[in-house]
C-alpha cells in the first residue's frame, strides 16, 4: 500500500464519512458553523434534479419496472449500486441467521429512496428500561432532543399534525407542514378503526405540501448566523411543493421530498466550507501518537488507490453497521480490538424494526369512480401505538409497541397488476377476467406493523476474518436472535390487522400466522438497522457519550444509527438527523473553544 502525501494534515476541521441522513445533516450544520468539512462518500456522485425518472411509465422500463436482484425495489427505485447486495462487497451471516443488509453507493445514501416517514421518539422511548426493566436507557431525555426535532423538521420540511397522543409528541407551533387530505381507503380504515379504539391520524412524512417560507424558517433556525441564514433561505426557496404525482422512492427532481443531495448538501456547499469527495470507500480511522484520530484511509473506487486524508476530528456516518465495520477495522497498538472499542460493544446490540403485515381486498372499494389517489405517494394517515396502558399493566405478551403503516388505492398499474387473481376470481380468464380486473382495481389494501425490538446480546455484527471485499477490506458477519417480545408482537400485528379488515368487510388474502417466527420479517429487512456503537452514561457500558462522541477518542464521533440505545417503533431517520444536529452543535462548540 502506498499512501500519497497527505492533504495538509488538519487542513479540514472535520472529516465526515458518509453523506446520508447523519452525514448529510452533520455536514450542513458543521459547515454552517464555519467548520471546514471534508465529506467522503463511498458511492458515486448523484444529482436528483437531473437523474430522477419523474414521469417515466412502467412500460418504458425493463420488465415493466419489476424488482430484480440488480434493482430489488424496482427499476425506477433511486438506489444506485445497492440493495440487498452491493457488487464486490459481500457480507455473511452466522449459522441460523439470515440478516439482510440494504446499502446504497451514491451521494445521499439511503435518503434517496427512503419512505420519508418521520416520527419523533417520545419520552418513554428514551427511558425504556426505567419504564419496563428491559433494554437500556438513553443518556438523554426527550426534552434534550425536542428542540432538535423542531429544527430538523423545520429544515427538512415534514407534514403532519399535532394530536397530543400518549408518547407521540407534538411539534412546536408552526413547525409542521399541513398534512394532505386523506384518501378514500384511508377514511374507510379510519372509520373501521374508530370502534376498535385504534387512532388513525395524519402521518408525518418529509415531503413539502406547500412552499417553504425560506426567510422566516432560516431566521428561526439561525438567528445569529448570517451565512447560515443566507444559504438556508436560498436552498429552501429552491424547493417546490409536492405536485401529487410520481413515487417518492425514485427521488424528486423538484426537491419536494427530503434527500440530502437536494436539501442538506446545496446549502452546505454554498457556505464555502464543504468539500465533497465521492467514490471514496473509507476503510480505517488512523490515530496519532496521542491516541487521537488523525484522519482516514479510503480506497478511491475509480483508481483503486489507497488514500489518506487528515483532519482535526472525524465523524463516522457510514450507516450503523458500516461505521462499526470501520471502527473494528481501525486496529492499532492502543486499540487492539478496534478504535474506541474498550467496552467491547462496537457491533453489539444491533437492532432492526419488527415487521409483519397483511394484504386484503375490500369489496366496498370495488368499482369506485376513478379519481386521483397518488397524493404524496406514501401514506397520508397512520396509526400510532395505542396500547401503552394495557402494555404497562402486563395485559399483552410483548413489552413494546408498534405503529401501523397502510396503503392501497387506485395507483398506477405496474408490474404485477392484477396478478394473483386466480383464487379470488375462481380462475377467470377471457372477458370475465377483464371485467374482474376493472372491478377489483383500487380495492386492495395492505397493513404493515412497524414495531420496537428490544436489544439483545445475541444480535450483533463482527468482522468476518475469512472474507475481504473487492477493496481488500474485511467484511461483516451478522448474528441474530429475536426474543419472544418481537415474535409475539408480530403475531399481534397480523391478528389486529385481520380484525381491521374484518371490520371493513373485507377478506385477508395473505396468511395470518399464529407462529411469530413465520409472521416476522427477516432481520434487517425493514432497513432500520441501528445500534452497534451505543451511547450511554458509563464508558464501560457504552461506546459514545450523549453527544455521539467516543469516550476513548474525544475527536471521534459517530452520527448515524449506530449510537441508538433502543429502537422505538418510530422510524429512525428523523432521530438520526436530530441527534446529528445536536452532536454537530456540540462538536462545533468544542472546535471553537479549542477543546478539540
Amino acid at each position: 500500500m502506498t499512501s500519497p502525501a497527505p492533504l495538509t494534515h488538519q487542513d479540514h476541521d472535520v472529516i465526515v464519512v458518509g453523506s446520508g441522513a447523519g452525514g448529510g445533516m452533520a455536514a450542513y450544520v458543521l459547515a454552517c458553523h464555519g467548520a471546514k468539512v471534508l465529506l467522503l462518500e463511498a458511492g458515486r456522485d448523484y444529482d436528483p434534479v437531473t437523474e430522477t425518472p419523474m414521469f417515466q411509465l412502467p412500460r418504458e422500463a425493463p420488465l415493466r419496472g419489476a424488482g430484480t436482484q440488480d434493482k430489488p425495489f424496482g427499476f425506477y427505485d433511486a438506489t444506485v449500486d445497492g440493495g440487498w447486495t452491493v457488487p464486490g462487497e459481500p457480507y455473511s451471516s452466522a449459522e441460523g441467521t439470515n440478516f439482510m443488509w440494504w446499502r446504497a453507493r451514491m451521494l445521499g445514501g439511503r435518503t434517496n429512496h427512503w419512505g420519508r416517514i418521520s416520527l419523533r421518539m417520545g419520552p418513554y422511548d428514551f427511558k425504556p428500561r426505567s419504564r419496563d426493566g428491559l433494554g437500556a436507557d438513553w443518556p438523554l431525555t426527550y426534552d434534550d432532543l425536542a428542540p432538535y426535532y423542531d429544527r430538523t423538521e423545520m429544515f427538512v420540511g415534514v407534514y403532519g399534525s399535532n394530536e397530543g397522543l400518549e408518547n407521540t409528541p407534538n411539534s412546536s407551533p408552526g413547525v409542521l407542514q399541513p398534512p394532505p387530505a386523506p384518501r378514500a381507503y384511508e377514511l374507510l380504515t379510519r372509520d373501521a378503526c374508530r370502534g376498535m379504539g385504534i387512532p388513525v391520524i395524519p402521518a408525518h412524512l418529509a415531503i413539502l405540501t406547500e412552499r417553504m417560507d425560506g426567510a422566516a424558517l432560516a431566521r428561526g433556525l439561525w438567528p445569529n448566523n448570517a451565512t447560515a441564514r443566507r444559504v438556508t433561505e436560498e436552498a429552501m426557496n429552491e424547493r417546490l411543493a409536492c405536485f401529487w404525482a410520481t413515487p417518492c422512492g425514485r427521488g424528486c427532481s423538484i426537491k419536494a421530498n427530503f434527500q440530502t443531495p437536494t436539501v442538506c448538501l446545496p446549502p452546505a456547499l454554498a457556505t464555502g466550507n464543504l468539500d465533497i469527495v465521492t467514490d471514496a470507500m473509507v476503510r480505517e480511522v488512523t490515530v496519532d501518537s496521542a491516541d487521537r484520530a488523525s484522519g482516514v484511509h479510503y480506497i478511491d473506487r475509480r483508481t483503486r488507490e489507497d488514500v489518506w486524508v487528515g483532519g482535526r476530528t472525524v465523524v463516522l456516518a457510514a450507516s450503523a453497521c458500516e461505521s462499526a465495520r470501520i471502527l473494528l477495522n481501525s486496529v492499532s497498538g492502543p486499540f487492539p480490538d478496534g478504535l474506541g472499542n474498550g467496552s467491547g460493544l462496537v457491533g453489539k446490540y444491533l437492532m432492526d424494526t419488527v415487521g409483519a403485515g397483511v394484504y386484503a381486498q375490500i369489496p366496498a372499494l370495488e368499482n369506485l369512480p376513478r379519481h386521483a389517489e397518488e397524493g404524496a405517494s406514501a401514506m397520508h394517515m397512520y396509526m400510532p401505538w395505542w396500547l401503552y396502558g394495557e402494555q404497562l399493566a402486563g395485559q399483552l405478551n410483548f413489552a413494546r409497541g408498534y405503529h401501523v403503516e397502510f396503503g392501497g388505492g387506485q395507483r398506477m398499474p405496474g408490474y404485477g397488476a392484477f396478478g394473483g387473481l386466480e383464487p379470488l376470481t375462481d380462475g377467470a380468464y377471457g372477458q370475465r377476467f377483464k371485467e374482474e380486473c376493472r372491478r377489483y382495481y383500487g380495492s386492495f389494501v395492505f397493513f404493515d406493523g412497524r414495531g420496537e425490538m428490544i436489544p439483545n446480546e445475541d444480535s450483533y455484527c463482527e468482522l468476518d476474518t475469512d472474507q475481504l471485499d473487492q477493496w481488500g477490506i474485511p467484511t461483516l458477519r451478522f448474528h441474530w436472535k429475536w426474543s419472544e417480545h418481537e415474535l409475539n408482537q408480530a403475531v399481534h400485528m397480523q391478528h389486529t390487522f385481520a380484525g381491521i379488515v374484518e371490520e371493513m368487510g373485507g377478506q385477508v388474502l395473505s396468511t395470518v400466522q399464529t407462529d411469530g417466527s413465520r409472521a416476522i420479517a427477516a432481520p434487517g429487512q425493514i432497513i432500520h438497522e441501528v445500534g452497534c456503537a451505543r451511547m450511554g452514561d458509563d464508558p464501560s457500558d457504552s461506546v459514545l457519550n450523549q453527544y455521539c462522541q467516543s469516550w476513548e477518542v474525544p475527536n471521534l464521533f459517530v452520527m448515524d444509527g449506530a449510537p441508538f440505545v433502543s429502537n422505538a417503533d418510530k422510524n429512525p431517520t428523523l432521530s438520526i438527523m436530530a441527534l446529528a444536529w445536536r452532536s454537530s452543535d456540540y462538536l462545533a462548540e468544542q472546535l471553537r473553544t479549542g477543546a478539540l
Partner: protein, 229 residues
C-alpha cells in the same frame, strides 16, 4: 447541469488541486472505470455528455446503475417467432378485445412475456422453462383432443382446454403443471395489458401528471362509501 452540481464540482476540483489524491476523479464521468462497469456504458461516456446527448452522464449504465431516464432492455429475447405466434393466441384468449379496449396480443403482450422470460435472473429463467414447456404441452393437448394446434382451435375448443387448467386448486392431477403455466401467462399478460396505454385508459387511471392541489376523494366517492371526511 445545475448550479449546485457545478459548484460541487468546482469545490471538488479545488480539493484535487490542493493535493487530495482521488478527489480529481470525482468530477469525472460515470462509466469511467467505475467498479462493475462492463465497458458497455456508451450512455455514460464522456463523448455522449459533451455532445449533449439524452443519456444520464452520471449513471454507469450497468445493471445496478442503469440510466433511469432513458431505459433500455440490455438482454436479447429468446423466444422464436413460432413460439411468439402461439403465445399470442393464448394471450388473446386470456384478455380478448371488447368494446372498451383491444385484445392482449394487439398491444404486444407476447413481446413483453418474451422480454420477461429472456431476462438473466433466476426467477425469469424458471419462467422461461415453464412457459416454453407449457406452450409445447398446449399444442400437444390441442392436437390430441381436437386435431389442431391451439392457435387454430375454434373458441369453444380452446375454452375446453383452458377450463381444465385455469385454476390449479381444482385442476385434475394431470393438469396441475399446465395450470401453473396458465396462471403465470395470465399474470404476465395482465401486467402487459394493464400497463399499456390502452390498458391504462380502459382502467381509467387518473394520475402521473402534476396537480396544483390534492383534494382527496370527490363527493360522489364519499357518498358511495358512506363516509364523512
Amino acid at each position: 447541469m445545475s448550479g449546485v452540481t457545478r459548484r460541487r464540482m468546482l469545490k471538488t476540483l479545488a480539493a484535487g488541486a490542493a493535493g487530495a489524491a482521488g478527489a480529481v476523479g470525482s468530477a469525472g464521468c460515470g462509466g469511467d472505470g467505475r467498479p462493475g462497469d462492463s465497458g458497455g456504458a456508451a450512455r455514460g461516456s464522456g463523448a455522449g455528455r459533451a455532445a449533449g446527448g439524452p443519456g444520464n452522464p452520471l449513471a454507469a449504465g450497468t445493471p445496478t446503475d442503469p440510466d433511469l431516464i432513458n431505459p433500455t432492455v440490455p438482454w436479447d429475447s429468446v423466444l422464436t417467432e413460432d413460439e411468439l405466434r402461439r403465445l399470442a393466441a393464448l394471450c388473446d384468449v386470456i384478455i380478448p378485445a371488447d368494446d372498451r379496449s383491444p385484445a392482449a396480443a394487439s398491444i404486444g403482450a407476447q413481446d413483453f412475456i418474451n422480454e420477461w422470460v429472456s431476462a438473466p435472473y433466476e426467477g425469469n429463467q424458471n419462467d422461461l422453462t415453464l412457459i416454453r414447456g407449457g406452450l409445447a404441452w398446449l399444442d400437444r393437448e390441442a392436437t390430441a383432443r381436437f386435431g389442431s394446434e391451439f392457435s387454430g382451435l375454434p373458441a369453444a375448443q380452446a375454452r375446453a382446454i383452458c377450463d381444465d387448467i385455469c385454476m390449479e386448486s381444482r385442476a385434475a392431477p394431470e393438469f396441475k403443471t399446465a395450470a401453473r403455466f396458465f396462471d403465470r401467462v395470465r399474470d404476465l399478460t395482465s401486467t402487459a395489458f394493464w400497463t399499456s396505454a390502452e390498458g391504462m385508459e380502459d382502467l381509467g387511471f387518473v394520475g402521473n401528471r402534476p396537480m396544483a392541489s390534492f383534494e382527496g376523494p370527490p363527493r360522489e366517492v364519499l357518498d358511495l362509501l358512506g363516509i364523512t371526511p
